[in-house]
Assembly symmetry: C2
Homo-oligomer: 200 residues x 2
DNA sequence: CGGTCAGGTTGACATTGTCAAGTTAACGGT
DNA sequence: ACCGTTAACTTGACAATGTCAACCTGACCG
């Protein structure tokens, strides 16, 4: 029964495209049960919503394990792309768990974050990146999350036709930026910076 | 009266910390008026919410004009920092206008986006950046927005104590990454990349 | 065979956005 | 000076929704 409720809730959520399409009455009706029965399986509406979304976030965790490769720096890129694809493919679940004030943490996301941090840490050891791995992970994650959440929430912006390519650009920008970050003088003038980069 | 409603609504919103602290009854009561009177000044709850948030977004537009300097590449950084500061200082209004499915565009944000695009375009002309200014602007904006929205929505993450410094890191990462992006071979191995960067 | 209990139902309540109908006060033209 | 129009506001109500208390029911176990 719990599963049927989750299925019904997920259908409503995805078809409605927004979390306020998820009403307890609609879920209960779709599962062929009376409204307050939902409370036998979930503490409240919020818990049901969370459960539905966490279920699909579990898939991302698997994707992350698949994406892990030998080269840690390339793994970072693969993680980021898998993450972005996931968010764009599951906009509602992404929004519910990551774009609203979160009471307690998203376990699946935390797990993915750990994998990402490990890859970054490894890249620090090879000397490609410098600095605190956790902070670097937050910076990279910020970049990718920013692209995903803007794409989801602001579709009217002048997005390029090929979103995957755009995300690629963001990942590339973030990765290269993280790598260069600590190797360039802190406050150069534009002219100096240009000279440095033109030498590449 | 319209102004008093806006003031009351803003108070509720900021003190409540969430947009569902904004109930028409509470707003009307705080403004000393009956509930349906709100409809004489705003089409519906959503319109009131939007009006409150847009009012403070107008301030950001002014900040952007102040932040504009002579060096376009440095202006980009100043814009980004002003933007992040604004978002962190006005979390509710930021969330309402940028982290929910937006029906029609945010005029103030669009205006800031234009200023940002202009600075980027100028940096392309000086040769510091390469590529489509609009796409570059979206990428940079994604990075900053990502940091802001994660900080707002996921406070339990292991954020460094100094948020301004963190934002600085993101801005730096994004800016440098954007500059390097097109000057580095498309798909280098980690070893090659390391060699290139170590030469910096 | 009787008690316990998980799973389910009915009926109700408070809160909320929203609307229709009525009221009041100001204001302008004849 | 009077009357009609209009804008601002109120009262009273409605429907939708989350949530809870009380009741029911069938299965399982000593």
């Amino acid at each position: 029964m719990r599963e049927e409720l989750l299925d019904a809730a997920e259908r409503l959520l995805v078809e409605g495209g927004s979390d306020d399409a998820l009403t307890l009455r609609a879920v209960a009706a779709a599962a062929g049960v009376s409204t307050p029965s939902v409370y036998l399986h979930f503490a409240d509406r919020e818990a049901l919503l969370e459960a539905v979304c966490i279920r699909v976030w579990g898939e991302l965790e698997s994707l992350f394990h698949e994406a892990r490769g030998d080269d840690p720096f390339q793994s970072i890129g693969r993680f980021a792309r898998a993450y972005a694809r996931f968010g764009i493919d599951h906009p509602v679940q992404y929004r519910v768990l990551l774009m609203r004030p979160a009471i307690h943490e998203n376990k699946a996301a935390a797990s993915c974050f750990r994998l990402m941090t490990e890859a970054i840490s490894a890249s620090v050891h090879t000397g490609l990146l410098h600095g605190d791995p956790r902070t670097l992970a937050l910076q990279l994650w910020s970049a990718v999350h920013g692209a995903v959440s803007l794409i989801i929430a602001q579709p009217h912006l002048p997005w390029p036709a090929d979103l995957d390519q755009f995300v690629d650009g963001v990942v590339r920008m973030a990765g290269l930026g993280a790598a260069v970050q600590t190797r360039v003088p802190q406050l150069s003038s534009s002219a100096e910076l240009k000279a440095v980069f033109d030498a590449l």
